[in-house]
Symmetry: C2
Subunit: 598 residues, 2 copies
């Protein structure tokens, strides 16, 4: 089982060298007093918790899984104790509003902590993760009374939250949902229906569970315009906030899944459950988007977290496993064979993992900074951050989970047959990572959101802002001889992205299917360029230090990994996705149903 | 759980239209009397057995798995009864020599049957699969006395076989193996050591198990030149062939794995076990190659088998699952939404599976015909077949399992969240398929064999024979307006393969690491062209029938899938792999150990 070690050196390099986090926090309303020392202390403490408390439960939580009996769910041994420590450490309130007991720290700092806790134990981290999403939704759309009742216990970690969207017949297409709500007066409703795939829907970690439920009020319009959002607690709450009667929202069963066995995935039955309308009727889907965006960034982080874990395991194994001699002469002449790290194909697999892990970290942390800005700044600055977030959230979600899944499979592959065996810990990472391309909107759904709505929907404006930033960076640093081989192809591909979007848009005017036919390839092409932008920046920052006379392996490794990324991943894969995106809808749409097969 | 239906229409199209199997068998020594009726009867009966006996045990075998107690292994419920039916049906001897009780049918017919049985239940099919490999090894290299003793019971299915190669410290690098053999005289040896990852090493299906074991005779040279092959039975056999004492080769434990839970993966301890030398001392690795080649083709078939199973499940689900409306207008206006089959990105995922499944079938069946020819013809004809087999066996093994794994993941993806849940049956296929890129030589090992040994080792001769065949086919049919868009790019890429090999060879003269750095990308590039050749041929055969006035959905589907394959997969992916292969070794080799990370 690969030990997890929080990659603190790399985290600091991203926060300090790439993002200049201390200056960012100093200019962020409400975070001005978050000194570098305090930032470091939080991150170090999060690392310790991840390594010492959560990581040891990773394999055992998978082997034991959750169990269901008579509507009650028991989490794996140790999960509850770890959760108690998490609460005692004040972690649930990290970036929650101070007026309800939170510490009001910026979202980006929580992202760093979430990466480490997620890498240490993704299944466990889903319980607090969904709670944060519920808090965020209440914070934005709950009434003052609702905030008073529900937020503090969530923020203190006494209660937890869920998102109840999916039903058996509707996942991507929420317009079909059937759970119905009948008004009882005073904002109270009686809810009936069945939700499936509800993460943390029932468990033994907290005293109460606050479900955020999408349902259709009797008489509401059909489709997505008739969906409202409700708070439906497991236990109702009296006027003093004390737990009252059990509300009939119950867990009918939990799913047996490929992975994340420690996370309870519940069927939730609402049988005349009492719920409280959030905001206005029929606006539920809009409200839910705030949770979904948080969840999408959280899922992007899952891609990173699993990649980091697999990469750590694979690198350690490649250094210790002796097998065959290097083709260019023995590198370990006194041993029976060379460590497999010397073999070029093993290096290809390792560098792919390193490039994706470290590139994704830079990308996602930078996105988290945009969340800070969108949340806390005003006017144009906030809008600019929100526009970048809107464009790149689907990319981070889909791209980081797709390439992350490739990487965890490469991690297993580095172990050979040992990787397929439970004991190595590598196959669990593959099983856990597989869900990330599915939940919170599949890769296909993210790609439609990106190309249809975010790129074409605003006539390419947001895209041109992004590519303009990339091109400006390339112009600024492209003359440096060490950076030129990286930035020249990056600049070229950045100019191709709007061209490609434009040509797809023109085709789409004649055939609406062209967008769907090209969407996933477009998203992946864009993802490789965005990661290339971050690799360009990481290399530039490393080069700056080298030029200033510093020299260490970490900095040289950054520049060389950037070269690998550009030559072996970005350039060839962009070309492939561009060609596939341009291949047109006809080859997909021409087959009749019967021509697919009997 | 997707039902398995043997794809008989497609199998017949490949055998009859593509390969003209009746004529092939009519000209094959020993198979002249295998009439088309008998061929059909065998395939139909194999299909029935796969669908009715094996497929129902697929999910239950996974859930239950094998269990170990005091050295004994129990296979999942139903596996033993299925094996008894398999034996009663005469299947174990299908392509085994008649003089030892086999039916002496060509290997290619067994390949068809093995595809169906493997798709129905891969884990179960590994028990007879390894037995066939052992039989083949004894047939080629066993002494007459050894053949008399061991082959008949294996062929009758009373006993089963294994391959014991791997040890804890050596998998890819068998030169390191330590199991030792001490001569007792008269070809008898005493063996000591521990083997791991031994499929079917212990189980409850047969009365005896015949292990083919690699070991080092005391005093033998180090490395691969000192390895010998031994027969080590679980029970020794007296002169009449009756079972005698238990031989101390025992199962110490079985592995907990990601998938193929129904297949027992054993640690085998040899404690003074008696073994019988096969052939000459120190030639074991050469003898084992015959088993390994059989096993590599069998593993290629695993890629196909899982892809077929996933594709069947995904297509059925895409027809029945209603979610969202087609962007070009409702296709199911009376229903609440359209079947997801209408969405272009779902079609992209489905057509990828269809193109890989049907293309791999054509490729692998054709390779199996080359096995027939190499086995049963003489002189130049046999040599030509053997040369094609040598070149393309590593490609089939690595390419069909790599793209197969992509496909089973796409199959799961078509199900959305339901695919991640056990009940759908899709996640099991992913778990089972994952091992195929690892065992019988990883993708990296196959790629080194291909590029280093098979392509460069003979100066490109075998490669030029292959690309010459592809180009000749393109020239012959490239003028047909329906085929021209397929064959023009195919011909182009076929000419690029030797160019690429040549330029890599030149670089390799200066830096030996260039071969390893390019090998996997070269193999994948070649794989896409070979599959393109088969898709070209499948389209040409379908077009021939259409031109003759036939018209049915199957034929139209073939041509349209070929178009999809060429435009969306072959052309863009070849370009990517070519570019990556040409990127050179430097970006991989430049990092020092320390620059990879702490």
């Amino acid at each position: 089982m690969p030990e997890y070690q929080a990659p603190l050196r790399d985290i600091r390099f991203v926060l300090h060298d790439l993002l200049d986090a201390p200056a960012h926090y100093a200019g962020l309303p409400g975070a001005e007093e978050l000194s570098p020392d305090v930032q470091d202390a939080i991150i170090n403490e999060g690392a310790r918790f991840a390594e010492e408390v959560l990581a040891p439960l990773y394999a055992s939580g998978d082997a034991e899984g959750c169990s269901w009996k008579d509507g009650e769910v028991t989490t794996p041994t140790g999960f509850k104790e770890a959760f108690e420590q998490y609460v005692a450490g004040g972690w649930p309130g990290l970036n929650a509003p101070a007026e309800y007991g939170g510490q009001d720290l910026p979202a980006s700092l929580a992202t760093v902590v979430n990466e480490m806790m997620g890498a240490a134990n993704w299944a466990w981290s889903m319980y607090p993760g969904l709670t944060s999403a519920a808090v965020r939704c209440l914070q934005f759309y709950g009434s003052e009374a609702q905030q008073r009742t529900w937020m503090q216990p969530l923020i203190e970690g006494r209660w937890s939250g869920t998102m109840c969207l999916t039903e058996a017949h509707c996942g991507s297409d929420l317009g079909l949902l059937r759970t119905r709500a009948t008004e009882l007066g005073e904002g109270r409703y009686r809810l009936n229906g069945t939700k499936i795939f509800i993460s943390s829907g029932e468990h033994d970690l907290t005293d109460n569970i606050v479900h955020m439920v999408l349902a259709r009020i009797d008489g509401a319009p059909e489709g997505t315009r008739g969906i409202s959002l409700f708070i439906v607690p497991k236990y109702r709450v009296d006027e003093d906030g004390a737990l009252a009667e059990r509300n009939p929202i119950t867990c009918g069963s939990i799913e047996e899944k490929m992975g994340i066995h420690g996370s309870a995935t519940c069927v939730m039955n609402l049988d005349d459950a009492e719920g409280y309308l959030v905001g206005e009727p029929n606006r539920g889907l809009n409200y839910m988007f705030i949770m979904m965006n948080t969840a999408r960034l959280g899922t992007a982080l899952q891609g990173l977290a699993h990649t980091e874990r697999a990469w750590q395991g694979a690198l350690a194994y490649a250094r210790e496993r002796l097998q065959m001699r290097s083709l260019s002469g023995p590198k370990n002449p006194d041993g029976p064979a060379d460590p497999i790290l010397v073999h070029p194909d093993v290096r290809r697999m390792l560098l792919t993992q390193k490039a994706i892990a470290e590139g994704s970290r830079a990308f996602i942390y930078w996105l988290a900074l945009q969340v800070d800005r969108a949340d806390r700044l005003e006017g144009e600055e906030a809008e600019a951050a929100a526009a970048l977030l809107a464009l790149l959230t689907p990319v981070a979600k889909a791209f980081c989970t797709e390439v992350g899944y490739e990487c965890v499979n490469l991690g297993l592959q580095c172990f050979g047959g040992h990787g397929y065996v439970r004991e190595s810990g590598m196959e669990q990472i593959v099983r856990d990572a597989r869900i990330a391309m599915v939940y919170e909107g599949t890769t296909g759904i993210q790609a439609l959101d990106l190309l249809g709505r975010k790129v074409m929907g605003d006539g390419g404006k947001a895209l041109l802002t992004l590519t303009g930033m990339i091109e400006a960076f390339c112009r600024e640093h492209g003359e440096h001889p060490a950076l030129q081989p990286l930035l020249e192809p990056l600049q070229q591909l950045a100019t191709e992205l709007p061209e490609l979007a434009m040509s797809l848009g023109q085709k789409a005017m004649e055939d609406a299917e062209e967008v769907g036919a090209a969407a996933v390839d477009y998203l992946m092409a864009l993802g490789y360029v965005v990661l290339g932008w971050f690799w360009g920046q990481l290399a530039q920052r490393a080069q700056q230090r080298l030029d200033a006379g510093e020299s260490d392996d970490f900095l040289h490794g950054k520049i060389k990994t950037a070269r690998f990324y550009v030559a072996r991943l970005m350039v060839p894969r962009f070309a492939m996705h561009r060609q596939a995106a341009e291949a047109g809808a006809a080859t997909l749409m021409d087959l009749t149903d019967a021509e697919f097969g009997a």
